[in-house]
Structures are given as structure tokens and as C-alpha cells.
């Protein structure tokens, strides 16, 4: 059978965002694949360099609607590292609380989408039904279902009144845990689901290491990395994290990692609430810090890194964002080869790609109708030649 190029993307019903997988198929079997990114570039880093460091958290929050706590938290941590700002205990705990609630809603969202990708719409609806109370909870304690706007440099913007909302949070978590266990069972025990997920999209531990994958993708391939455990930030050192690693290396393992993490996140929220200290929620800031800082956060999809260089003015001199999906995306190619078109959406979906997080450098020349995906060096050269190339 001759080879056919089957485009999955830039616009495809299986993908919620513009991304492009050029899949070479022979009949139903995939023989090769290419990943192209850069369809979702918005120039956030460029924008960040033109805003004050107190505005940037709200800008980087808009990078992604799902990990909308991970990015600002990461940025704030990088600035705090550069300026040696000590975050008060209560603020650290509030950050942890929001981050874990966010992880729960993100993983439930993923589980729903994964069910949809294998055509199991009933499970999709159930997963999203149980995600809804979490979003409402976040709305209650931060004021927004997404984009919580809770982080600011040196702490958090809003206090959480645990006396008022504590019972409500615990109530939601109490009904969440059995629901997730039940739905997880529906995934693990259903024969057709098992047939679709087990042994599909194998990413061996070696390959996972080579491609430097992060987050649940790594933990499903036997690599136990988790920023919360390895380099604890916020209140994770105090409340502790149980990182579970699966060695089956297939889509099922990645699913189990996420199911387990959802349950663990609910536990962490409970522990954080128990350990919540009293005190201020924000550190006193004097002036603008100078120097370099790196923030690391375990976003729902893996390790998120923000690098910031500050020069004592109100605006960051440079902000570099490396989202987890950027690391995971490349590993899709060895996962796809040898499987069928029917498996492709699930395999792509199983790393939980978040393109709006990933796309940092791209340039579209509309007049020439040409698309350039530039490296950092090329972009720098271009910037030197022309003062305002991106506009």
C-alpha cells in the first residue's frame, strides 16, 4: 500500500488547539510522523517585557486557561528568587491549595477529553460533571472559575476564609474522591477501554529520558520526577507529596498516573487546610529587584519553568517561558510509529498537549504567505536588523 500523508491539524476535531501532526500512513498503520508547532504564537514574552513586574502575573496567567495558576505562580517564584523575597507561610499554603485544586480540574478535564477521543462520550460527560464543582469552588474562593488571579509577587492577593469556606471545600472533595475512584474503575475495568489503552503509545523509559519528557508522561514511563517532590516550592515541603510512578509506559499508565494524582491532590488540599498557618498573605516589597531568577512549578502537565532577568526597573528585561508540553511534544513521534490512525488522537491526547502554553517563537509573514518558525538566535538577529519586526 502506498504511503499517504494524513494531516492531523492544524485544525482537527481531535485537537482543541491549532497544532500540526503530519502523519505518514500506510493503510491504517502509521509509519512516520512530524510535529510542527507555532500556530498559536501570541508574543507573550515580548509583551511581558513591556509590562511592569506586577502586571506580568496577570499576563502570563493568560498563557493558558487550564494551567492558569501554574504560570503566574512560576513567574512570581522567579522574581522572588531574583529579589530574595521571602513569601509568608500563609501565602505559600494558599498557593498550594489553589495549585492542587487546579490540578484536580485539569486532570478531570483531560480524562474527559481522553474518553471523548476514544469515542466514549458518556464517560466524557461524567468526568466533566465532576469537574464542575471544582470550578465552582475556585470561583467561590478566588472569584473566578479560571484565571484565579491569586498570585502576586511576594504572596497572594486574596486571603481564603477557611472558617467560611472550609466545610464547603471539604464537602466537594468528599464527594469527588469516590466519584473519581468509580470513574477510574470504569476506565480500568471496561474491556473495550482497556483494549484501546493498554499497550498503546509505548514510550520506553529510555526514550522518555532521551526526549526529556516531564510530568505525568514521564511518571507513566517509570521516571519519578516531580518538582513538588524534587525541589519543593510553596508549601509542598510541609504538606508532603506522594508521587506514584507507573512503569507500563503506555497510555493506560499515563491515565492511571493522572487518576492517582487527582486523588492525591484532594489529599494535599485536605492536608494544606489542616496545616494552614495564620499571618500575613503578602511580603513587604521595597523597590524593584535586580538579578536573575528561575521559577519551577509542577503544572498539571509537568515541569513549568520561567526565567526572568531584572535590572532594577519596573519592567523585566527578559522573560523566558518553557511550558511542559514543549518537552513532551517531541516524544509523540516515537509513540505514534507502529500504531494505527485510530490510536493517533489518543496517543497525542495522552501527553495532554497544551499548545497555547508551548508556542513561544513563531513569525508569520502574511505578505509573502510564508511561515517561519524561528529559533531564539534567528529571532534575535531579526530583532537587531529591524526594530519592530513582529508588528
Amino acid at each position: 500500500m502506498p504511503e499517504v500523508v494524513l494531516p492531523i491539524g492544524p485544525y482537527h476535531p481531535a485537537l482543541t488547539e491549532p497544532e500540526f501532526f503530519q502523519v505518514y500512513v500506510s493503510g491504517e498503520e502509521i509509519v512516520d510522523a512530524k510535529v510542527r508547532i507555532g500556530y498559536n504564537h501570541r508574543g507573550i514574552e515580548w509583551l511581558a517585557q513591556r509590562k511592569t513586574i506586577h502586571q506580568v502575573p496577570f499576563l502570563v496567567e493568560r498563557i493558558c486557561g487550564i494551567c492558569s495558576n501554574a504560570h503566574p505562580m512560576c513567574f512570581c517564584q522567579s522574581v522572588e528568587e531574583a529579589g530574595d523575597i521571602v513569601v509568608p507561610d500563609r501565602a505559600r499554603h494558599i498557593r498550594t491549595l489553589i495549585a492542587e485544586l487546579e490540578r484536580i480540574h485539569s486532570h478531570l478535564l483531560w480524562a474527559g477529553i481522553a474518553s471523548h477521543l476514544i469515542g466514549y462520550d458518556t464517560l466524557f460527560m461524567y468526568f466533566w460533571r465532576h469537574r464542575e464543582p471544582i470550578c465552582e469552588l475556585l470561583d467561590l474562593i478566588t472569584g473566578n472559575r479560571q484565571h484565579y488571579a491569586i498570585n502576586c509577587i511576594g504572596g497572594v492577593r486574596r486571603d481564603i476564609d477557611l472558617e467560611k469556606y472550609g466545610s464547603k471545600i471539604l464537602g466537594v472533595l468528599k464527594s469527588l474522591t469516590p466519584a473519581v475512584l468509580r470513574l477510574g474503575d470504569a476506565v480500568v475495568k471496561d474491556r473495550v477501554v482497556k483494549a484501546r489503552m493498554e499497550g498503546v503509545g509505548i514510550l520506553s523509559t529510555d526514550n522518555a529520558r532521551k526526549y526529556c519528557v516531564v510530568g505525568p508522561t514521564a511518571r507513566g514511563s517509570g521516571i519519578g520526577i516531580d518538582v513538588r517532590k524534587n525541589e519543593p516550592y510553596a508549601a509542598y515541603r510541609d504538606v508532603g507529596v506522594d508521587v506514584k510512578v507507573f512503569t507500563e509506559c503506555d497510555v493506560m499508565a499515563r491515565t492511571l498516573v493522572r487518576v492517582h494524582e487527582t486523588l492525591e491532590s484532594a489529599e494535599i488540599v485536605r492536608r494544606t487546610m489542616d496545616a494552614m498557618p495564620n499571618g500575613p498573605i503578602k511580603a513587604e516589597l521595597n523597590g524593584f529587584p535586580t538579578g536573575e531568577g528561575v521559577g519551577k512549578v509542577e503544572a498539571p502537565r509537568g515541569e513549568d519553568i520561567h526565567y526572568v532577568r531584572l535590572n532594577g526597573t519596573d519592567k523585566p528585561e527578559r522573560l523566558k517561558i518553557r511550558a511542559p508540553t514543549y518537552m513532551n511534544l517531541g516524544s509523540i513521534v516515537p509513540q505514534l510509529v507502529g500504531y494505527t490512525i485510530a490510536d493517533a488522537p489518543l496517543i497525542i491526547g495522552a501527553v495532554d498537549p497544551c499548545m497555547c502554553c508551548t508556542d513561544r517563537i513563531a513569525l508569520v509573514d502574511v505578505r509573502k504567505g510564508r511561515k517561519l518558525v524561528l529559533s531564539l538566535g534567528e529571532l534575535a538577529q531579526k530583532t537587531r536588523k529591524n526594530r519592530n519586526p513582529i508588528r
Binding site: V4, V5, L6, P7, H12, P13, A14, V25, G27, E28, S115, H116, L117, I118, G119, Y120, D121, T122, L123, M125, Y126, R129, D190, V192, V193, A195, R196, T340, I341, A342, D343, A344, P345
Partner: protein, 320 residues
């Protein structure tokens, strides 16, 4: 053949139980199906008129024919699909035990006509010149060759049991000997057919040819406007015709008796109930299953279901 015969034949084809009746019954059943699915999934579901609204909206849309498409076949495919489904009820008894067109072997003709929608999708998909369309067509072809064998074995189990290839005889056999569903071989044939119908309707777990998260809409990817509406219509009609066919084969048929008001009421209520129960069974299977992969579906039909269907046929030979 007199003019009256021609007029009656036309009326049968276009109004009842042909096009117009099927048009409304099919859309009503597709609404019931959608609503049931929504309720199973804890959603609200569409209002009653939604399928009609969808259809008429599609009719008003522009028909786009891709430059790569082979025009004549591309346009003909939905018509073939629609006409094939429309002709099936002419051979199924509804008002009297004897339908308008009845002859020895009409069961075989129905089996052929029910293949045509899948065939039309295949033709349309490959004529569209779209990679998703051609992959959808090849999947449809593989699926068709696999589910058709157990389906036909099940049909012949029923025919053997009733001793006739004429649908009228099947219905009469059941009215004197009880539902075929209640016999051993009949029950097995029913289960086999129910699962094959999921593939015929291309709904989960066998919605492989038009799996939207994999290959957009498969054979229907390039279809738009009225042509797509015709495909949707024939699919909605199938949703009514297939339970009806199943009902005729296993549950004594859908027979409305006009001899008295009370009999009319009882028989029509019973008929609708039978059809709805079958529809609920189909919706439930659809609701609790994810999509199988094509190789898994092939193994299921060729191996498991064919063996089960053969066992049913064997039972019918023995006389169970």
C-alpha cells in the same frame, strides 16, 4: 396494471409507509435516541423539533463540491442511500399482514437494500477525493464485510425457523407460534443482529468509519448542504427502519389493526412500545461503549459473533 395500482404504488412509496412517513418517524426516533443518550449522560438533550430543524437548516446551506471530487458519483451517493432505505418499508407489513409488495424472497431483497446505505457512504467517500474520505471508505468496506456475515447468518436462522423467505410468512408464523425471540436460536440471532445493527448504523462501539476524533467525518467529510442533509435523513430513517425490521423478524412485527377503535389503540400502542424498547436497547449499547479499533471490531465480528451466529443457526437446524 391499472392506473389505480400505479397511484397506490406511488402513494405507498412517497407517503405511507414510504418517504413522508419515514421522514417524520425517522426524525422522531432520532430525537428519542438523542434525548435518551443525553439523559443517560446527565445532559438536558435537544427539543423535539431539533432533528427537523437540523435537516432544514442543512437544506438551506450551500452545496460545496470539492475540485478533487468525482462529481456524478459524489452527488448520486446520498440519493442511493436515501432511496434504498425508503424502499424497505414497502415490504414490511404495517396496516395489514400483507404489505403492498410481497413476494418470495423479499427478505433477501431487504438484506440487500440495507447494505446500500453503507455502500453509498463508501462510494461517496471515495468519490470525494479527500484523504479522510478514502480512509473512511476503506474502514466502511472492512466493517461491512465483517458484520454482514453474522447478520446474514442471523437472518437465515430466522428464515429457517419460520420455513420461509417471505416476510409475511415470518409474521404469520409468529402470530401462530409465538415470538421468534423466545426460541433459543431466535434469541441468539436477535443478539447477533442487535450488535450488527450498531455497525450498520455506525454508532459506538462501531462508529469506526466516521470516527470524528480520528478522521473528521470519514466518508462524509466533504459533504455539505443538501447532500449531507440527505445522508442525515437516510441515517435517521435507518434508525426507524432497523428496529422495525428487527421487530418484524423477532417480535411478531409492527401490525396496526383498524377493525375497531380499541384494537387500533392497543395494537398501535404495542407496536410503538416494541419499537421504542428496541431503540432503547440500541441507545444503551451506544451509551456504555467506547469506540473499538477497526482490527478489534473485525476480530469481534469475524470470530466471536460469526461463531455465535453459527451456533444459533445450528440450533435452528436442530429445531430449537
Amino acid at each position: 396494471m391499472s392506473w389505480l395500482d400505479v397511484a397506490v404504488a406511488l402513494l405507498n412509496t412517497l407517503v405511507f409507509p414510504g418517504f413522508l412517513f419515514l421522514f417524520n418517524a425517522g426524525f422522531f426516533f432520532s430525537w428519542v435516541d438523542r434525548k435518551l443518550l443525553a439523559r443517560f449522560q446527565e445532559r438536558v438533550g435537544p427539543p423535539v423539533f431539533q432533528p427537523w430543524a437540523d435537516f432544514f437548516k442543512l437544506l438551506s446551506k450551500e452545496i460545496i463540491i470539492a475540485r478533487t471530487a468525482f462529481k456524478a458519483t459524489f452527488i448520486l451517493a446520498p440519493l442511493i442511500s436515501l432511496i434504498a432505505v425508503m424502499l424497505v418499508p414497502l415490504m414490511l407489513p404495517i396496516v395489514t399482514p400483507t404489505p403492498q409488495f410481497t413476494f418470495i424472497g423479499d427478505l433477501i431483497v431487504i438484506v440487500y437494500l440495507l447494505i446500500l446505505p453503507a455502500l453509498a457512504a463508501m462510494i461517496g467517500g471515495s468519490a470525494s477525493g479527500n484523504p479522510y474520505g478514502s480512509i473512511g471508505s476503506s474502514r466502511e468496506m472492512m466493517l461491512l464485510t465483517s458484520y454482514e456475515l453474522p447478520f446474514i447468518i442471523a437472518v437465515f436462522t430466522v428464515a429457517l425457523k419460520a420455513g420461509s423467505l417471505r416476510i409475511v410468512d415470518l409474521v404469520q408464523y409468529q402470530s401462530s407460534n409465538g415470538f421468534l425471540f423466545l426460541t433459543g436460536s431466535g434469541f441468539i440471532a436477535f443478539l447477533v443482529m442487535l450488535l450488527s445493527l450498531q455497525a450498520k448504523l455506525s454508532v459506538p462501539p462501531f462508529d469506526i468509519p466516521d470516527a470524528k476524533t480520528e478522521i473528521i467525518a470519514g466518508p462524509y467529510t466533504e459533504y455539505s448542504g443538501a447532500l449531507l442533509a440527505l445522508f442525515k435523513l437516510s441515517h435517521a430513517m435507518l434508525l426507524f427502519v432497523l428496529p422495525w425490521f428487527l421487530c418484524t423478524l423477532f417480535f411478531g412485527g409492527v401490525l396496526v389493526d383498524f377493525s375497531s377503535t380499541i384494537r387500533l389503540f392497543v395494537t398501535s400502542a404495542a407496536s410503538v412500545l416494541k419499537l421504542l424498547i428496541l431503540l432503547i436497547a440500541m441507545s444503551l449499547i451506544r451509551c456504555i461503549n467506547p469506540r473499538a479499533r477497526i482490527d478489534q471490531a473485525l476480530r469481534f465480528f469475524w470470530l466471536h459473533l460469526t461463531i455465535i451466529a453459527s451456533v444459533g443457526f445450528g440450533l435452528a437446524v436442530v429445531g430449537w
